[in-house]
């Protein structure tokens, strides 16, 4: 990469009306990722990349150990998300991964030109759809869930003097644990199926790492089916509350989790 004075930060690819570009589309963007620069578009026919000046210093000096709410990363990520959302309110978007930079606007235009058919196909796939996050978890913190068995073990000598009684009680507890984990597993399957049939696509995160979470999934839902999707959510929410299982829904999100596009190759002359 040759040295270039105008590295460009990319938020998303979206569609524009070639006739209306650029005035109408550039009207009211939130602030760029650096908090001050304007957000602009690089267009090629009906495709446009949402870009801004790259905050090179902020990104290269980003402390990677601080992921707290007040960290520099939090501010940058929220502003990145805000720009993607603003684009998504206008039209379908393909969000870029955080921190995507190209040397200049010319390289962005070249990317749109060279990959236009793949980009259009990907935009068509998610057009008029929004992403919803679903998380199913046990009610209460891990500490709360484990306090009962721990205290029962510690209290054991005062409750019972018989080793056999202790072992019998432990066996009963193990049976209860197995029954509970069966309930949770079944709940995860049922909830996923209930949402999956209403979604165009879905992704389920592998088990862990969140403590107590038995299902962590995302669904790509047509805007015409959202009311039904949310009413299902409301019903399941009440149903599982009685079983001490919490159903959380987040969204709507731009289709972050459904950008099924092979990595775009750049830099080929």
């Amino acid at each position: 990469v040759t040295a270039n004075p105008e590295p460009t930060y990319l938020y998303a690819i979206t569609r524009v009306d070639p006739g209306g570009y650029p005035d109408a589309v550039e009207a009211a963007w939130p602030s760029a990722i650096d908090g001050t620069s304007p957000v602009t578009l690089v267009a090629h026919q009906d495709l446009a990349a949402v870009v801004s000046r790259a905050p090179l210093a902020q990104l290269s000096s980003l402390p990677l150990d601080d992921l707290s709410e007040t960290s520099p990363l939090a501010g940058l990520a929220r502003r990145h998300d805000a720009v993607v959302r603003a684009a998504f309110e206008r039209a379908a978007v393909l969000p870029f991964r955080f921190g995507t930079l190209l040397p200049d606007r010319g390289a962005v235009a070249a990317l749109l030109r060279e990959r236009s058919s793949a980009l259009r196909a990907a935009l068509d796939r998610t057009d008029s759809h929004r992403e919803w996050g679903v998380r199913l978890s046990e009610t209460g913190s891990p500490a709360t869930r484990q306090s009962a068995p721990r205290s029962s073990m510690h209290n054991q000598p005062t409750q019972s003097t018989s080793g056999t009684a202790y072992l019998t009680r432990r066996r009963a507890e193990l049976v209860a644990v197995r029954a509970r984990s069966d309930v949770l597993r079944q709940a995860a399957l049922d909830v996923h199926q209930a949402f999956d049939v209403q979604a165009r696509e879905s992704t389920v995160r592998p088990e862990g790492p969140r403590a107590g979470v038995v299902l962590d999934a995302c669904y790509l839902v047509s805007t015409t089916k959202e009311a039904q999707f949310l009413s299902t959510a409301q019903r399941l929410c009440a149903e599982y509350r009685d079983l001490e299982i919490r159903l959380e829904i987040t969204g709507p999100w731009p289709p972050y989790s459904f950008v099924a596009l092979a990595p775009l190759m750049g830099g080929h002359d």
Binding site: F96, L102, P103, A233
Partner: protein
Amino acid sequence: MNGAHPAISTGSQGSLADILERVLDKGVVIVGDIVVSVLDVELLSLKLRLFVASAQTAQEMGLDWWTRDPFFTSGAPAPVSRSGAAAPLEPPLPAPALERTASELTAENADLRRRITALEQQFGIGLADQKLQA
């Protein structure tokens, strides 16, 4: 529809972890010489997974190994194979003497029973067995 459901946070900005999981882990990736690289997003993504998993960090470090043994804690999760890219960062779990497999314990139990029976017969005090047989 917004705000109609207690556990449904629609239209909100989303929690930081929810946003980071999406912007760091997902999205279109450009590869090749043309990309300007000033930030290790892969490393950030790994750190995020560890951060989100912090509640379980103590367990993964083996500091409270017994909470993972169903016999000691009914709240212990069934052993699962850890997946995800965070795994290589985890230090190998220590293997405390008490953390043994069920088959090892069963074998040890059987061995101890044999030795007790042998001792009881040697000293002529196999009372428990006689009662059971009676």
